[in-house]
Amino acid sequence: MAYKVTEDGNLATIFLDGEIDMDKTEEAKELIFPHIEAGKEIHINLKDVEYMDSSGISVLIESHQKALESGTKVTLKEISKSVLKVIMMAKLEQILNLD
């Protein structure tokens, strides 16, 4: 299933959903990274993500770091309880931009 993306000026909002594991990370990266490389501000909406493993967390870290290098910003929006738990287990709540 393709993830939904909306664009509003310089802001791209990417809606991930379902279970984000190693099998889904390439699809997520292919969607997120071009927007970062284009210098857009990114919101990644995680409301409908039911499960995320270390591979999914790696995509969030890589997106965050790529955005910093490109002089833009990735913000995680409406983070589901299960994803927040994994972000906190990885001690990333002070590193990633959570909203």
Binding site: E19, D21, D53, M89, A90
Partner: protein
């Protein structure tokens, strides 16, 4: 309607060593843990630990190579101790090389083993009995 929970269990299943099997690994684990009286939070953590260990087999024991090999996952509950065994025929695990990255060294990758160690009480690599090459044992007192 709540179903009766059990105090002991032995369940095992084979999975193709491939990233597309991880969804099935999680489904199997969730089905088994539904039979045990555990909090939802703990079930979610155990499913994550199992999926991370299975992912490590795909990524490290098989280096993401295409294979028709199967891995076996065996979940045992006895005397309130949960033991989860992983059996594979990939490259032998070099125990000294199995470590997670420093958690304050923020970069992609290296978190799966950290999650497993956070969730489980013990993580032990054994040599597998034939036909298996590797046997990983995760345990947790419930």
């Amino acid at each position: 309607m709540s179903s009766e929970k059990v105090n002991s269990i032995i369940e095992n299943k084979d999975f193709l060593v491939h990233s597309s099997s991880l969804k099935d690994v999680r489904s199997f684990s969730r089905e088994v843990f539904e039979k045990i009286n555990l909090s939802q939070d703990l079930k979610d953590e155990l499913v994550l630990a199992i999926a991370e260990a299975a992912q490590n087999i795909v990524k490290h024991a098989y280096k993401n190579e295409e294979t028709q090999d199967k891995m076996e996952i065996r979940i045992t509950l006895k005397d309130n101790e949960l033991e989860i065994g992983f059996f594979d025929k990939g490259r032998p695990v070099e125990k000294d090389n199995v470590r997670h990255r420093r958690i304050d060294d923020v970069k992609p990758g290296g978190l799966g083993t950290y999650f497993i160690q956070q969730i489980m009480d013990a993580v032990v690599f054994k040599e597998g009995n034939k036909p298996w090459i590797n046997h990983l044992v995760l345990t947790k007192k419930l």
